[in-house]
């Protein structure tokens, strides 16, 4: 797929891949062998009918293609851009054996973008009203999926979102250059047109409790609040000025649009010599944001090696092309600062890989005496996130696991509290958009059954 050139894109916030032309899309689509037993569908967590929607593109029936996608996946424009296709559908493509699988993600994106640009905007019909009311807490991919499914089945759906804008990680976390915010806005708009009511500035647990939702007439509640608690390194000096969690950094940049400061009022640090700790998608997004905010040098520091990096391969590749450096097998042990309390660098240790740990990856072990200093004036901590206890603390009668995630039935999303479902990152821990959507779909089925037949 055509892309912005690295030396140009690393200083702007526009989307990196430019998208297929119709001709390119049809050419790519025609490579699909239309397997009888398609591996790609098995590789997809929500079992999108991949050969089916691709076949519509080959035939030039774009309405058919998007309808087919929607029947399994309500956010194709998002998933086409952010799913880790290389370990899902594309990995299972028969052509992957020869090293060049069909670009399923790119085609999915094309189909959704085409609908947005040229589609009729015609709404699929909703089922007759059931008179039942459902509250969905959190407007990330998981909450949006539940809402879309339930409103189509005739239920009244209200989404409660703590932030002032809906979309969850899709608006506050993933940057514009990877997922234009316009797309998320349109997806939410689409749900609103279907009849979903979106209420922002509602911190469930504080502004309203789950029991109060039931008292005020809701028949069921879905919790999709994500895994929004930032993890820090917990090493000396972490509160120096110039160290931000990735959540804070990306929220300032994306949700608050601080990259446009002073046109907008929210500031953001402009590091010149930047270190990002971690190697997942969040770390790549932070590093590439720092570059776009004018950094001279951006380094990723990761305690394991290249092959353990959890980020999407496409994003690692993009980051490298843009000139981001990688320090593998390295971990900071202490931040260093000046007399004004500002970050000046960090003391690091070299690591080597030992026996596999509980994640199945080799455990990194510090090498004694390998300490060295890394200079930097700004650091983003992107070493993972945990369960935010705000809502769960306020909901005493719902079971949590030892890490504070909500215990929910993997098949239905039912929690231990009657009438309450949960799914997405708040159940699984930080995962992916498509898994959060898959959980939302299963829960929607189960909520519908409950509203029809009982608990």
């Amino acid at each position: 797929m055509p892309e912005q050139k690295p030396e140009i894109r690393k200083r702007n916030f526009n989307e990196v891949p430019l998208g297929y032309t119709f001709e390119l899309a049809q050419k790519e689509a025609s490579r699909c062998l239309q397997c009888k037993k398609p591996g790609c569908v098995e590789g997809c967590p929500v079992a999108v009918d991949i050969p089916g929607f691709i076949n519509f593109i080959t035939k030039g029936d774009m309405t058919g293609s998007i309808r087919n996608l929607w029947s399994r996946n309500s956010l194709p424009a998002v998933c086409g851009r952010v799913c880790p296709q290389e370990i899902q559908c594309e990995q299972r493509c028969i052509l992957a054996k020869r090293g060049d699988p069909v670009a399923v993600g790119h085609l999915e994106r094309f189909s959704a973008d085409y609908e947005r640009a040229y589609g009729t905007g015609e709404l699929p019909p909703n089922a007759p009203a059931t008179g039942k009311k459902v509250a969905v807490i959190g407007s990330g991919p998981s909450g949006l999926t539940v809402s879309g499914d339930l409103v189509a089945l005739g239920h009244r759906v209200t989404v409660l979102e703590a932030f002032h804008k809906p979309g969850g990680v899709l608006v506050y976390g993933i940057p514009e250059f990877r997922l234009p915010k316009e797309i998320v806005t349109q997806e939410v708009h689409f749900l609103e047109r279907l009849g979903v009511e979106v209420k922002c500035n509602m911190v469930a647990g504080n502004t309203v409790s789950i029991d109060e939702l039931f008292e005020s007439g809701y028949d069921a509640v879905y919790i999709g609040v994500g895994a929004g608690l930032p993890r820090f390194m917990i090493i000396p000096g972490e509160n120096l000025v110039g160290i931000l969690s990735a959540n804070e950094y990306l929220t300032r940049a994306n949700l608050m649009k601080a990259y446009k400061f002073p046109e907008v009022d929210t500031p953001i640090p402009h590091g010149k010599n930047v270190v990002v700790l971690g190697a997942g998608n969040v770390a790549m997004d932070s590093a590439r944001t720092a570059l776009r905010l004018g950094a001279d040098k951006v380094r990723i520091v990761y305690r394991r090696s290249r092959k353990e990096m959890p980020a999407r391969i496409a994003e690692i590749h993009h980051a490298e092309e843009e000139g981001i450096e990688f320090f593998f097998l390295t971990t900071p042990v202490k931040y260093l600062g000046d007399e004004k309390g500002r970050l000046t660098g960090m003391a690091c240790l070299k690591m080597e890989l030992g026996e596999p740990d509980e994640s199945g990856r080799q455990r990194p072990i510090p090498i004694p005496g390998s300490e060295f200093e890394l200079q930097c004036d700004f650091c983003v901590v992107a070493v993972g996130s945990g369960a935010n206890p705000l809502l769960t603390n306020a909901t005493k009668d719902m079971k949590l696991n030892q890490w504070g995630y909500i215990v929910a039935d993997p098949e239905t999303g039912k929690t231990t509290k009657k009438g309450v479902w949960a799914g997405g990152d708040i159940v699984t821990g930080a995962a992916t958009v498509i898994l959060a959507m898959g959980a939302g779909r299963k829960a929607a089925d189960s909520i519908h059954k409950y509203l029809t037949w009982g608990w």
Binding site: A162, F163, H164, C200, N201, M202, V203, N206, T207, V208, G228, L229, P230, F232, I234, E238, N239, V241, G242, L244, S245, N247, E248, T251, R252, M256, K257, K260, F261, P262, E263, V264, D265, T266, P267, P269, H270, K340, G341, R342, N388, P389, L390
Partner: protein
């Protein structure tokens, strides 16, 4: 939109009171909790501790000092205008307990935050002595309101234009010498809270303070509000905003409040100057 139903200017227009229609928040708000306000689409999210709330009328009241770009924007809002977004109530409510004699110390706009806490402490049966201070008489706010909710009100101004000539800490010391004080509450500029805590530590009197670090979400999601309490990192928005005054690392808090001061200061001032507000 959250409409402003009442607006007052104090101290010659540098301090503004807004009573705002926010029924869901008013229903739940307790003394010591805060809200986050955003005036318009491109505005900053600004945390302010509530000065009052009225569940019947469905309103909350905030009082802020005009110090930077965002508060200057807030100041332009008239009755009938509104804030695009307000979220809350956030943070833990004040822990209220009947202990005997309590001293409430307020400085600058901190007095606005102190007022509902003082009222609540008196209502549950404490003997309340309050000390409020400002740089000069014209900058002192809520004197009458504080008098109403205290058994005894003392005033101090840095320049001696009203009440004691000097700092609130000197008045506090005198009270601690003469009364059997069981608890102190201090809310105001960071240096004031720091010095009050230093004195009460000498007298071994439990003291709590209300901290106002830089915040983004106010729900524990970003960690921008982290403060060191007894050497451990806490998120002020969910673990606070009130903390044991003897355990706070005030110097770190002051440095963190100035995080954005060196860059193009025009828009960052809100936080930079908060430290010496009052």
């Amino acid at each position: 939109m959250f409409k402003i139903v009442r607006r007052e200017e104090m101290t010659g227009g540098t301090v503004i009171l807004n009573e705002i229609a926010a029924p869901l928040i008013a229903r739940k708000a307790k003394p010591g909790q805060f809200v986050i306000l955003k005036a318009n689409e491109d505005g900053e999210r600004v945390p302010l501790t509530m000065a009052d709330s009225d569940p019947e009328k469905g309103t909350i009241t905030v009082i802020y000092m005009v110090v930077g770009k965002s508060t200057a924007l807030f100041k332009t809002l008239a009755v009938g205008d509104g804030y695009q977004d307000i979220i809350g109530p956030l943070g833990k409510p004040t822990h209220l307990e009947k202990v005997g004699t309590v001293v409430c110390v307020g400085g600058g706009t901190g007095i606005a935050v102190l007022h509902p806490i003082t009222r609540a402490l008196k209502e549950i049966g404490n003997h309340v002595i309050s000390i409020i201070g400002a740089r000069t008489k014209d900058l002192l706010i809520l004197e009458n309101q504080m008098r109403k909710v205290s058994h005894d009100l003392r005033i101090s101004t840095d320049d001696g234009s009203y009440g004691h000539h000097g700092f609130v800490t000197e008045v506090l010391k005198e009270i601690l010498e003469n009364e059997d004080v069981k608890q102190v509450v201090a809310i105001g500029p960071v240096p004031m809270m720091k010095f009050v805590s230093k004195i009460t530590a000498e007298y071994h009197i439990p003291t709590f303070v209300s901290l106002n670090p830089i915040m983004v979400d106010g729900t524990g999601m970003c960690g921008g509000c982290r403060v060191s309490i007894d050497g451990k990192t806490k998120f002020a928005c969910v673990d606070g905003p009130e903390f044991d005054g003897h355990k706070v690392d005030y110097d770190e808090l002051m440095r963190r409040l100035q995080a954005y001061c060196d860059e193009e200061t025009e828009c960052y001032e809100d936080y930079c100057t908060i430290r010496d507000a009052g």
